[in-house]
């Protein structure tokens, strides 16, 4: 009955829905990419579910099973979470993007990435949220290196991180101290971007370029990370050099591609 309802009211209603005011809740999707994480995944999900958030916020774990060869798929089906089962292995970038797409389609206000191996303690999420609200940034990165507390990662990894810090700064003038950290929170504007375009392999440092070239503001907040609870890193020690070269190239390509498109 569109004639009975004043147009102004409809417009207001639509506006409210957009900001989720009608539900009174701001919803956060916690995207957890999982590849062979049967040991740690149940704990990660329960940690998210038992998290105490400020009033007016709710969080939903969205676990993306990247076609694991172990029992991860069956486990997450039984957990209290949204279980997305990829039919083929896409790698970390494609898996995380599936979560972004879910957040996009289902109208979440925020999305954050949390690794499936338990490295990112859910207890640190409120810090990201607080920083997001205070700073007005579109992307908040949970960083290990602002004050150097908690688990600090290997020397090789740290060298790579410093390299990316300078590389990103040289290209787009944004300093991110922990560019390989996957512990990130995005607002709606950022979700719209990453559900359309997100790097495939080793996406974290590359995504920073993507965000800043699309005019998103990036903030950083100190968080403490743990050593992984199970599973293996997507980056082995042997492939660390390959990783740095590949990602540096990818960053350069992304930079050129987006610059020329404009």
């Amino acid at each position: 009955m569109p004639n009975l309802i004043p147009r102004e009211f409809l417009a207001a209603l639509r506006f409210c829905q957009k900001d989720s005011l009608i539900l009174g809740m701001r919803r956060i999707a916690a995207v957890v990419p999982a590849y062979n994480e049967e040991k740690a995944i149940a704990y990660v999900v329960s940690e998210i579910n038992s998290l105490q958030l400020p009033d007016g916020y709710s969080i939903v774990p969205v676990v993306v099973n990247d076609c694991s060869r172990d029992n991860t798929g069956a486990i997450i089906d039984k957990l209290n979470c949204v279980a997305l089962q990829l039919p083929v292995n896409l790698g970390i970038g494609g898996a995380v993007q599936t979560g972004w797409k879910y957040a996009m389609e289902n109208g979440f206000d925020y999305a954050l990435q949390l690794d499936g191996d338990g490295q990112h303690p859910a207890g640190e999420i409120p810090k990201l949220l607080q920083k997001m609200n205070e700073s007005g940034c579109d992307v908040i990165i949970g960083s290990r290196f602002l004050t150097n507390t908690g688990f600090q990662s290997s020397r090789m990894r740290r060298f790579g991180i410093i390299h990316f810090k300078h590389f990103n700064k040289a290209l787009v003038g944004v300093t991110v101290h922990d560019s390989t950290s996957g512990f990130r929170m995005l607002n709606r504007k950022a979700i719209e971007l990453v559900s359309e375009e997100y790097p495939d392999e080793y996406p974290e440092p590359e995504a920073i370029i993507l965000y800043s070239l699309h005019g998103l503001k990036i903030g950083e907040v100190q968080v403490e990370m743990r050593e992984r609870q199970g599973g293996v890193s997507s980056i082995g020690t042997f492939s660390a050099v390959y990783y740095m070269l590949k990602v540096s190239l990818a960053i350069l390509y992304t930079f050129i591609r987006i610059k020329f498109k404009k």
Binding site: L84, V88, L90, T98, D200
Partner: protein, 113 residues
């Protein structure tokens, strides 16, 4: 007609026949078959026209005729490989989108049950 000429023509014709068979069976898409048919036709032309290679080399300023064959063949192969890389990249990105959509649809489906 020299013996080598007959062999070259026969092999070219066999190759052409095989390509046509692949197209008929639907194992080779038309857009990829064009390159192969053109290659075979070039082979056929030079099988019949024995002095063709010498003439072409002379025209292009290449001293040794066989060098023209190698340069031409390697260049053609490189271009075609590049084309295939482009095709693979496109397929990979389409594959990714499909997998993601399947995962999202499966979840939606399960929720409704």
């Amino acid at each position: 007609m020299a013996r080598i000429q007959i062999i070259a023509i026969a092999v070219s014709l066999l190759f052409l026949g095989y390509i046509i068979r692949l197209i008929i069976k639907g194992k080779l898409r038309e857009e990829y078959s064009i390159v192969w048919i053109v290659c075979t036709l070039v082979l056929l032309v030079f099988s019949f026209w024995r002095n063709g290679l010498e003439t072409m080399s002379h025209l292009l300023g290449i001293k040794e005729a066989p060098n023209l064959v190698f340069t031409g063949a390697i260049f053609a192969v490189l271009i075609y490989l590049l084309h295939l890389s482009v095709v693979v990249s496109k397929l990979q990105s389409q594959n990714k989108q499909l997998a993601q959509d399947i995962a999202l649809l499966k979840q939606k489906d399960k929720k409704q049950e």
